[in-house]
Subunit: 198 residues, 2 copies
DNA sequence: CGCCACAACTAAACAATGTTCAATTTATAG
DNA sequence: CTATAAATTGAACATTGTTTAGTTGTGGCG
């Protein structure tokens, strides 16, 4: 097989995802173009379409990478804590801090239309992996509760944290104050857990 | 002044917003094009640009209309209830039901990039109006609490409901079961309020 | 009644986008 | 060394948002 450059298809995929991530982080999803990515990695658009089905496919991989980093960040944030409640708080804080630190990148995860496009399994796994971390804490926290109760609680709290971090992106400068969203998150965790464990 | 048709500029704006809303509701934001809207209302693209600054501006008005309907729906849902807690539940349910009934339309409210674009005041007011409804309930619920506490609680709960309705759009078919998101919302309201009022 | 100024409107043009694909290049197998 | 086939290009296409020069009709004025 005659390959012209030193990059395998997989390497090109990674280069493209990295370049695209950089563009999204710096300029937002709207500025991401096939030609822009191609130029950044020293190839032509055509090559991009050999490595990805289309732009949406590429964006999905960019977002998957974001979710992976979030997973790593969350895991690290809770690593040295024993108390499940403190761990949940630390995980939430890590979530919110990523969203605040790289708003455009985080926004891309949700801008990319989610209705109408069938979400592939490998991508949904990235989301589920996050929820598993939360579920594990809830199980520690309330071993006597049923699987269903844990399931619901984990999703409720996580959706709440998610909603708060979304609001921080949209909201008035007041709410944008860095620690504001963290105040909301604290309120959510504190009060929700109080009710849940009552 | 020589006007050629029977429609004032304001009428054209309304026609365009209505047509755009129909397209978004039926086919999603991605299928919304200037030419499509123009054709639907019997004008040309140029005319659209006499009535709106650009497509983003038009989309903002489409979303504002969505928020207004949500406001009306929420108000109506709580109208006949006296207990603030029940009212909050009814309002949340109305929120979630709108999001489930018209997912594409609701998604458009958040797909439309919110970072990087300055959100005009008239639009932010639509969002604030929703939060005011929630704040009012919290004030009823806990008259002894400070303004700040009310402020935080209203935003926390509302962001939570929002997160849940977003998750419903994205998630696995399991969570998509219509009453699933309502179960999460109930859990949130019940437990958060328990903690908040403890 | 005529015509004119001017707003409303159109239609064509532009640049940029995602996507495809015939043509070309080049590494490697034989 | 050559033939093969994969890798890569670059030009083409349709479609998008947006602009603008030109056209058309209407209401006001003489």
């Amino acid at each position: 097989m005659g390959r012209r450059s030193d990059h395998s298809r997989e390497e090109i995929r990674e280069m493209a995802i990295t370049a695209a991530t950089r563009i999204v982080t710096g300029q937002g999803l709207a500025k991401l173009t096939a030609r822009g990515i191609a130029q950044d990695i020293g190839y032509t658009v055509g090559t991009l379409y050999l490595a990805f089905e289309n732009l949406d496919d590429l964006i999905l991989h960019v977002n998957a990478k974001t979710l992976e980093e979030l997973h790593a960040g969350i895991t690290a944030a809770a690593r040295d804590l024993a108390d499940p409640k403190r761990r949940l708080a630390a995980m939430s804080k890590a979530y919110i801090e990523l969203a605040n630190r790289q708003p455009r990148r985080w926004n891309a995860v949700f801008e990319h239309s989610l209705v109408d496009t069938e979400i592939p399994d490998w991508y949904r796994q990235r989301i589920d992996a996050l929820l598993l971390l939360v579920e594990a804490e809830f199980r520690q926290l309330a071993p006597h509760k049923s699987d269903t109760e844990i399931w619901i609680a984990a999703r409720t709290l996580w959706a709440g944290i998610h909603g708060i971090s979304m609001a921080a992106l949209t909201s008035t400068p007041v709410i944008k104050k860095p620690d504001m969203s963290w105040q909301l998150a604290s309120s959510l965790i504190e009060n929700y857990l109080t009710g849940f464990l009552r």
